[in-house]
């Protein structure tokens, strides 16, 4: 009888562990998959070599004094260092680019699996959406 109880306990523990394992997320899912619709909308990677290796997550926006302010996390999904450059593109309500070509590329070295916070402020009050452009240096 004692033996049966012990067996039941072990079985219950295994079942619980399996259930918990099923609920956990892999690293990429926690950061944000590069093919997720929200990521695709706000991220444009200009280098084939960086495709599926760089992603963004935690995209947040707010309006400060009528200007769109953006904060997001830029992550390196690989274990090797990546030298990249990024810049924002800003769009108005009609999806026209605002002040095109004025934002400069910002160089940044992302270590393996590193995530950094990137912030930007729209050039004027007509901006309604944004895109982060990323390319290799």
């Amino acid at each position: 009888m004692k033996c049966r109880n012990g067996f039941t306990r072990v079985l219950a523990s295994l079942l619980l562990m399996a259930l918990l394992g099923g609920c956990s997320t892999s690293g990429i899912e926690a950061i944000g998959r590069p093919d997720a619709a929200e990521v695709k909308k706000h991220l444009l990677i200009h280098s084939d070599a960086l495709a599926n290796k760089i992603t963004i997550s935690d995209m947040r926006t707010r309006e400060t004094a009528g200007l769109l302010e953006v904060s997001l996390t830029l992550s390196n999904l690989t274990s090797s260092d990546k030298s990249v450059a990024y810049r924002f593109s800003w769009f108005d309500a009609d999806e026209f680019e605002v002040e095109a070509g004025t934002d400069a590329w910002t160089p940044v070295n992302l270590h393996g699996a590193q995530s950094i916070s990137v912030q930007g402020v729209a050039p004027n009050g007509s901006v309604k959406s944004y895109r982060l452009n990323v390319k290799g240096q």
Binding site: T64, A65, L67, A85, R87, E99, A104, W105, P123, G125
Partner: protein, 203 residues
Amino acid sequence: MSINKRSSIVGVSLIAASLLLLQGCANKVAYQDATEVETTTIDFGSTDLQQIAAKMVDSVLTFPPIVQVTSERRPVMFVDKIKNKTTEHIDTESITDTISTRILRSGKFRFVDMTKVAEVREQLAFQNEGGMVKRDTAAQVGRQIGAEYMMYGNLSSIVKKSDDVKDVYYKFTLKVMHLESGIVEWSDEKEIRKQREKSLFGM
């Protein structure tokens, strides 16, 4: 082979060789993206200027006390010179031009241009005293708006060198002062550090 034939072959070969050499020396000109990351030398460059301008503009436009002022009206500002305390020749007016242009285009501030005072005075004198301009169309003297804020700052650097490595650190500080009270309403800094290492063969 006759002497004539041989000398003509030598001649043609010489011309072909010189053409090849000349082609090797020819300059190639190509347009590049002005916002591209530029690392031609370790000296202050376009990427440094653009990074400084972007950081300063974003910072001043989102600083809460400045946001409060600019949400009600568009204050008038004038830009003083940026002191260049580095050992390099850097056109600091170019940095302030980029910053003031971006701030102006954000629609949050207006600017008065102190570099054009003499020209404006000359034009106003021409319109009001020259006798050539219709009185009712002449711009009136004494109607200009006084600046409420002044923008100023400095750029400094620390350079360190060893046989193989050169390290340059730039610090750009910018401030906005309320002219009447003398209070500095906003200030921010942008730091940039660059390093050049000699390659294995000193190339």
